[in-house]
Symmetry: C2
Subunit: 535 residues, 2 copies
């Protein structure tokens, strides 16, 4: 591809997006919020574009929708229309979509309704649930570019296994969502679709790399979102956008048909997982995915169905206040303190947890991301001549090129680190670790850099759930910490990035992590903790 043509290539995708938008649901100019309005969550209601039922539908979580459809209260078609309408408005405000698939979604919804009318039964555990999907997840005959203009030529021959699995469960796919250039930022901007905004504050980043999904679920453009995480890409957007997100243990959810430069790199695996509007929806999603037995096709997956676990309060939560590399901002500190107080009051055992060799763990993951010196990613960028976004440079230019035996050495270090961490938790009797998901509540565009609160658990391959605490940034309570002495230039940059006025009303999320393959237990514990915190 000639370098000068990159804009023309990008235009192909922009045209696809434009054509896919259902014009009848686009908000007229006069109903758009003023440029001063940063929180746009009230627009669907205030605009009058959605009926009361449509508002109710789109404000119901997937589990609730399913119950309503199983009872015949709502049809799959009306649910799909409601979400398509809200998704269209959401895109106007947040620029989070890469492509709508309205026709297919509606056709599928009608087929589901026909099935329900004739049998009186829903077709599967996701019957009629509208799902938004990160662009990297392939749909047959559609482009999968994963944030690279050079990959716009890549048209999928079939649906990703995740899509096929969930479609079999009754899911409806109505919109694909944005991701950053290269898909390796904590932000969500690229040369194709441009920058996605945060629904709680459009001046902020929705997080990344699954920023489109963060915006989609945060604005309730879909009932469930499919995102991916190799260093925090599910959890950060969920945290920034006030949603729930699970990065499952790797090798649980299907990966076939997902694009990502560096495919075949297995030392640190990327994994798909959900962004949702409730914790019970995380269960719903995972149960549906694993109920489809994706391991019967993708044999690298572990054949463990989503286990039912009985909730119990008899567990010990390790409290990781600070990883000693990136000092949490005042709102995060406040949420941690509030949570711990409430947990103690509720009789949950807590215990301070000191970060165990996080610097070491971050070196391992950073090196294993790009052991070829990021040549794969750099060539994919160079192939189109598209300009590099600032965070792209930061990601790749530090990449250390290694020999194959050096990567093996790192694999061994990673395994040893995982074992040590696991044994330490066992020794200390800690079942889960509660910690921030990020130094702050969100980041300004192009400023999301610190990923050690999420990526350390990717190094350790421990499942992590992010959930909103119900708290929001409050300048009165969350003043800049005076007298804090940063421990490094990185720590100082994180410290300086906070000012309460930038993040007013931003939701405050926390993260709970558990042992490898104890995804179900971690979600169950998060439910109990959430209930206590929200009480």
């Amino acid at each position: 591809m000639a370098a000068q043509n990159w804009e023309a290539e990008a235009q192909i995708c922009r045209d696809i997006l434009d054509k896919s938008i259902q014009k009848q649901w686009v908000l007229p100019e006069d109903l758009l919020p003023s440029p001063e309005q940063t929180n746009v969550l009230d627009v669907p209601r205030k605009s009058g574009m959605l009926t009361e039922t449509e508002l109710q539908i789109t404000e119901t979580d997937a589990t609730g929708l399913l119950e309503a459809m199983a009872k015949g209260t709502w049809t799959a078609e009306e649910v799909t229309i409601a979400f398509l309408k809200r998704a269209t408005i959401g895109h106007q405000l947040l620029n989070y979509a890469t492509e709508f698939m309205a026709e297919e979604a509606l056709a599928q919804a009608r087929a589901l309704d026909a099935h329900f009318r004739s049998t009186g039964k829903i077709i599967g555990p996701l019957h009629g649930v509208p799902i938004s999907t990160k662009e990297m997840v392939s749909f047959k005959d559609r482009i999968t570019h994963t944030g690279y203009i050079s990959r716009i030529s890549n048209v999928a021959k079939e649906d990703a296994l995740m899509v096929r699995t969930l479609r079999n469960a009754g899911a409806v796919f109505h919109v694909r969502t944005n991701l950053p250039q290269t898909c390796m930022h904590l932000d969500c901007d690229n040369n194709i679709t441009g920058r996605t905004r945060n629904p709680h504050n459009v001046r902020l980043s929705p997080g990344g790399s699954s920023g489109g999904e963060g915006a989609s679920i945060g604005f309730r453009c879909a009932a469930l979102g499919i995102a991916s995480d190799i260093g925090g890409s599910i959890r950060l957007p969920a945290a920034f956008c006030g949603s729930y997100g699970l990065r499952p243990t790797t090798l649980r959810t299907p990966w076939g048909g997902v694009g990502l430069a560096g495919e075949g790199q297995e030392a640190i695996r990327c994994t798909l997982g959900p962004i949702t509007n409730s914790l019970r929806d995380v269960d719903l999603f995972m149960k549906a995915v694993l109920g489809g037995k994706p391991w019967e096709e993708e044999t690298s997956l572990v054949p463990i169905p989503w286990k039912e676990v009985s909730p119990t309060k008899d567990f010990t939560v390790g409290i990781l206040w600070d990883d000693l590399m990136g000092h949490p901002h005042p709102p995060i500190q406040r949420a941690m303190k509030t949570a711990v107080e409430k947990l103690k009051e509720a009789g949950i055992k807590t215990k301070d947890w000191a970060p165990y060799k996080h610097e070491h763990g971050m070196r391992i993951i950073s090196d294993l991301f790009y052991p070829d010196g990021a040549e794969t990613q750099i060539s994919a960028l160079k192939a189109s001549g598209e300009p590099w976004l600032p965070l792209t440079k930061e990601a790749f230019l530090k990449a250390r090129k290694m020999t194959i035996p050096e990567t093996w050495e790192l694999n061994l270090e990673r395994e040893a680190y995982r074992t040590e961490h696991r044994l330490l938790m066992k020794e200390q009797g800690v079942d889960f670790i509660l910690c921030p998901a990020y130094t702050g509540v969100a980041a300004e565009p192009h400023e999301a850099r610190y990923f050690a609160y999420t990526a350390i658990w990717n190094t350790l391959d421990m499942p992590g759930v992010v959930f909103p605490t119900g708290l929001k940034v409050d300048p009165k309570l969350d003043a800049v910490e005076t007298g804090y002495q940063p421990r490094s230039p990185q720590d100082e940059a994180e410290y300086r990035s906070y000012a309460p006025e930038k993040f007013v009303e931003a939701p405050i999320a926390l993260q709970l992590v558990g042992n490898r393959f104890e995804d179900e237990e971690t979600v169950a514990a998060a439910k109990i903790i959430e209930e206590i915190i929200l009480a």
Copy 2:
């Protein structure tokens, strides 16, 4: 290490071995078989060195021993002594041991007996079961050299996780066993301990790389053996020596503390598994290993306990007669035909199974073994200056050095191949595949080369069980096939390697493979098939 010193280094291990042999159990010269006697299995009985009870003990499988010890019929100490005696004679005849651990074994057995006397109960699922262990599996304060003289300096800081897990289950470790130079031959010879012989015919190789374990279990020097397999190293020795062997799906059994040049290479994983004297002992072993929850320390393991599966004859066996690259020798053909006839008579569904892209699969595994051009292995050899055995040259000199992205490409090919194979089996309704484990029944020393009947299942990561058919080579029935037109030089070499007189009385084994992670189902099906074949 100066090159000229390699003999001195080797001598360290030879001295350790010599000193560890219990001299009171060594067979006097006059009781040794004549040089003409090739099958030495009758020596323990004929020599008179073992009592009738000791013969009975050593001819009982582990499950039977456990039952006897649980009833108090035999003590752990007498069981251990019986096996130590037989193991000592076995070593004289077969040169299979690298080190005896008689004192520790006896001390442990006595402790188990004390426990049993005071509680009336066995301590765990392997109470008092004497286990032989391939040298690469570490024991605290002992050398782990894995077939490299340069690694004789490597003294383990702790027991391997497998050893700790089984010791907790009550196992007694009394002898460590030989492996080939570099641990990457299908044979069992090195510059340290020398060549191990096959108990059925001392002129033949016991197979490899777990040849010491093949000899140990074939001669009943131990009740169970711990071996490893990355391309056939459990299954070939089991087949050559008339024993049973399971190569489990990877990531089921613990690997921590096992030595192998190229540690950290994860594209094709080596895995530990058992060589046994019965199929029920495979269950016993796996249940004990997984019952120890090794994933609570080695977090890469999949937390699936050994499942109880109810035996059923309702399955379909694909029959892989010939992989079209290495034509099976007449005894193997006969065993396959006999098996299929009996299965059909017994009402088991069978179906011819054409090899699916085996050449492609073998290219993938061969490339992924040594993506650094075998530099790691070659440096480990060069570090001591020890001479290369012929099979070492053959293994490494073909190794293709790749870039890191080229290895990723191969990982993707491997995954695609696994998916295609799995879907094809599903489409054809085939649950298991019955096939040879090797072109022949065994190989002459330094002549075992053909590993595609086992390694293809490593590429696919499908569990494989090898079991004896009860048949033996019979020159009258197994004449050289006349008029066979070899399909390649490799095929011709395999064809020419057969002559019935070389393999007289060698046991004939077959292999059953199943889907990834369906280890339990595969063993259960093998039990049913074995029963039918032996009937």
